[in-house]
């Protein structure tokens, strides 16, 4: 170990003692694009946003993420995205839907990869009723500190720009549809619905190609009496989805204030915890290196190197001590985050349970009626064919 090396160790020591984290502030905000050209009603596509996957399976050992909050966010984000997409004016009805077997023209599935008030990362998959994927992409955004500054009274959600980007990408995909593809997608949706309620009558109107994409084999007559009945039933399906939507909306509105408060309070804690963790890691690594290097230098035949080695080893020890203190400080912020989360969890958990109860009851009642209608339609089909 030579003199230069000792100097390097001391420089490292000084650098690590003084280093701190840096915060990158993003103020870029994506505006929502509006559909300006009028879309004929026959080409308006209905879009369903499925309740998001809360991403709880992928969470590593992170005490600050509480499952109930993630479950609530999964509904909240779906509702927020549906509202944003609807506002773009490029679609028919945009609704949060309970499951992928609800029939709409375009589906959007989302998964929460990260959400802590500072950063939001979502995985989004959009596909149409025929099974063709429109987009599969990850979206991430970092909230500006100003987003939580109450003096500014910003009304928008801190991550509204992210939802706007998703909506804008969907508009572009919609605009890329060729010719009468929109009408075809609507027809496929209607035939899927007809097939669901009267499989004997409509199962051969659609076929799946080698890629698993649905194609129309033939179209029913416009005056098909069974289809007329099915359209009346479909109107009820729309009403059922609309009613669910009202429950989702009500849930989001009740959750919004405590949730946004929690985000704002979490924001500074998340940043502080992350910076302290970074400092702790840097000091620990530097401290260990300094101690190891210092011990090596202390055995040198050169007196100056030996002195430098002692200084480095001592300084390294202090760095390690400081690293442990930073880690303990970071842990305090994490504990504060957990406390904040538990407080929010206690507030919204009854609402989550209430929403689940209501949607399960409504879906169960609707499903019972649907079974009855399927049976009646089957009998009508048999009677019209002269089978009974």
């Amino acid at each position: 170990m030579n003199y230069k090396c000792t100097i390097w160790l001391l420089t490292l020591l000084l650098a690590l003692t003084g280093c701190g984290g840096t915060t990158v502030k993003s103020t870029k905000f994506t505006q929502l694009e509006q559909q300006t050209a009028e879309i004929p009603e026959a080409q308006l596509l209905d879009l369903g946003v499925l309740g998001f996957d809360p991403g709880l399976d992928d969470i590593e050992d992170d005490d600050s993420i509480l499952p109930e909050i993630r479950n609530a966010e999964a509904r909240f984000f779906a509702d927020q995205l549906a509202d944003t997409i609807q506002s773009s004016g490029a679609w028919g009805a945009v609704r949060v839907i309970p499951a992928a077997d609800t029939i709409v023209d375009v589906y959007v599935k989302g998964k929460i990869l990260h959400s802590d008030g500072e950063n939001l990362v979502l995985a989004i998959h959009a596909y149409d009723t025929s099974g063709i994927t429109w987009l599969r992409k990850e979206y991430d955004d970092r909230a500006s500190r100003y987003a939580y500054d109450r003096r500014r009274k910003i009304k928008d959600d801190p991550f509204q720009g992210l939802f706007n980007r998703i909506a804008n990408d969907l508009i572009r995909e919609r605009q890329n549809l060729e010719g009468d593809r929109a009408e075809t997608l609507r027809a496929i949706s209607e035939l899927r619905f007809a097939r669901l309620f009267a499989p004997d009558a409509y199962s051969d109107y659609l076929r799946e190609n080698r890629k698993g994409v649905l194609e129309i084999s033939r179209l029913p007559a416009e005056n098909d009496p069974l289809l007329t009945r099915i359209r009346r039933i479909r109107e009820r399906d729309y009403l059922y989805i609309d009613t669910l939507q009202e429950y989702y909306h009500a849930f989001s509105r009740r959750m919004e204030t405590p949730y946004q408060n929690w985000r704002a309070e979490s924001y500074s804690e998340v940043i502080a915890a992350r910076e302290l963790k970074q400092q702790s890691t840097q000091r620990l690594v530097g401290g260990i290196a300094a101690v190891v290097g210092g011990i090596a230098a202390a055995t040198s035949s050169n007196a100056a190197s030996r002195t430098g080695g002692y200084v480095a080893a001592t300084g390294g020890g202090m760095l390690i001590k400081s690293a442990l203190e930073k880690k303990a400080e970071a842990q305090l912020h994490i504990e504060t985050l957990v406390e904040l989360g538990q407080s929010l969890e206690a507030e919204i958990e009854p609402q989550v349970i209430e929403l689940e109860d209501r949607t399960i009851t409504l879906t169960g009642n609707a499903e019972a009626q649907y079974q009855q209608w399927k049976a009646i339609l089957q009998e009508i089909y048999a009677a019209e064919r002269g089978d009974i």
Binding site: E41, A42, L44, D46, G92, A93, R95, V104, E183, R186, A187, E190, E222, N223, T228, R229, R231, R232, I233, R234, E235, R236, Y238, L239, Y240, I241, D242, T243, Q245, E246, Y247, H249, A250, R253, R254, T257, R358, L362, N365, A366, Q369, Q372, W373, I376, L377, E379, I380, A383, E384, G386, I388
Partner: protein, 158 residues
């Protein structure tokens, strides 16, 4: 019974079942509106929904014979009553009748909201019972009367 007669009976059953569903949905939407209104009262600064009708306007069910189904729920707000008329909502959350020719006046109630001419229901089958229960639970007088009409029609054809 001929095939056409059988289809007619089944259509009646379908109508009755749709009416039951409509009643159920109306009840649910009333509940959802209640939650929404309680949100509004909790949060005076927020935009309320008091001025919005409980049901969006627009005819449902009728006119679906030859055209593609228009865009999903946004265009399908009314509830088709048993005779094909549409019940809409007004700004106070009260529903008004879309078809003036329908029975707008309630008949006399014998007991517990059951009209005087309605029998005990002891011999009701499952469809009749569902309509009866939906009518008894329904708070909106117009829709309730529609449901009782459905019940009468269904019982008369038995």
């Amino acid at each position: 019974m001929t095939g056409a007669e059988a289809v007619g009976v089944l259509d009646e059953q379908l109508d009755a079942s749709l009416a039951v569903f409509d009643g159920m949905i109306l009840g649910e939407r009333g509940t959802a509106a209640g939650i929404e209104n309680s949100n509004t009262s909790d949060d005076p600064g927020s935009a309320g929904s008091n001025d919005e009708p409980l049901f969006e306007e627009g005819e449902l069910g009728g006119g679906s014979g030859g055209t593609a189904v228009p865009g999903m729920p946004s265009g399908a707000g009314g509830i088709e009553a048993g005779d094909g008329s549409v019940v809409d909502g007004d700004s106070n959350g009260n529903r008004t009748e879309g078809d003036a020719s329908g029975p707008a006046v309630e008949t006399a109630r014998a007991d517990g909201g059951v009209p005087a001419d309605i029998a005990s229901g002891a011999d009701d089958d499952i469809v009749a019972r569902q309509i009866r229960e939906a009518a008894m639970k329904e708070k909106d007088p117009v829709l309730r009367e529609k449901l009782w009409d459905e019940y009468r029609k269904y019982k008369n054809q038995q």
